[in-house]
Symmetry: none
Subunit: 181 residues, 2 copies
DNA sequence: TATGTTTGTTCGGTAAAAAGAACATAAGTT
DNA sequence: AACTTATGTTCTTTTTACCGAACAAACATA
């Protein structure tokens, strides 16, 4: 799938969502409408500043023009898909909702007993983890800068680098969301 | 802030994270290394296919090259944080993570006291809600078929139809994720 | 029916991005 | 030292994306 085809698909949709005609959008973005016309028809190879001008005029991030319809493609890749966490002796992770085709996240409930910390190998690039501690106490986060959490605390950190989860009190439980880009 | 400057900052970092030299990356992406050199020095106005080739070679989404890097970690202590949604007398919802450009989900922590049920108006079509109960007891779900949850229970239901959240015990707390299509 | 005003399209001229070669520099071999 | 193989930079050439103007088609106004 060539990148321009994605733009050709998303651009008219976002433009109409903003209630703009092709000519209006071109004027507002400060680009020639011929350029916009070709982009929407799937031809050409837009430069970054062109995309930037369009995204700004549409009041959306540039990424929405490029990989909004892309999530499915990224998930299909072998080796990059959602992986089940291994359940060690003192660490039980329950998969509550596996990643459906449209979304890009897994939700786990983790129940941990004090003892050895669970260090996770990095997940695919761009992964973020979100933790909300429900009970007990835990030391959570990047290996180089973990944070002690109390019930109700929320902490998010990059999952594509080494990170840890260590219970500091019995029956520590938390909600863990793994999110891909 | 011009977009090219962001790329110039991001590109070398991602390249080194992948353990590639400038020449290696250029070869693997199928672009001239002169092009890459100028991009990393903050000059030029790269075309979409150039960005695409680089992102693919680096095994990252294009948006990572373009959009400003989000703060990597974020900690919200229990009781702190922005109180989004209408905080009725017995219902406090804290927005933990609002929807970033690429993803489409909001994470809330809700703390509810027994009393009147909180009925929500339907959200946009396709929205799903996920609830993990942390403490207390609650009656949650679609108005016509709510479910009583105990700590640790997980329940998901369509958010685009009327639904309710009613605490059945004091200090009921839960994690709520609203997910768009 | 004429007359503007929009719509989105298809053309040449020009500025610029990308490719490729040549360059200097550095680190490792023989 | 002489040679090899990397590194990243700076050039020239070729390609092409952008612009602006001219264009046809649809709609409105008079």
């Amino acid at each position: 799938m060539k990148p321009i085809e994605l733009i050709a698909a998303t651009l008219p949709r976002e433009r109409q969502r903003a209630g703009l005609s092709l000519s209006q959008l071109a004027k507002q973005a400060g680009i020639a409408k011929s350029t916009l016309s070709q982009l929407e028809s799937g031809a050409g190879n837009p430069a970054l500043e062109t995309l930037w001008a369009l995204a700004t005029a549409l009041n959306i991030p540039v990424s929405r023009l490029i990989d909004a319809p892309q999530p499915t493609t990224r998930l299909i890749r072998a080796g990059e898909g959602p992986r089940a966490l291994s359940s060690e002796a003192n660490y039980i992770a329950t998969l509550l909702s596996s990643c459906p085709p449209s979304a890009r996240r897994d939700i786990f409930r983790v129940c941990v007993q004090p003892g050895q910390a669970r260090d996770s190998a990095p997940h695919p690039a761009g992964t973020m983890e979100h933790v909300i501690l429900c009970s007990g106490r835990a030391l959570v986060g990047p290996l180089e800068a973990p944070v002690e959490l109390a019930p109700g605390d929320y902490f998010t950190y990059p999952g594509d680098r080494p990170h840890t989860f260590k219970a500091l009190a019995p029956d520590t439980s938390a909600v863990l969301m793994m999110e891909s880009i």
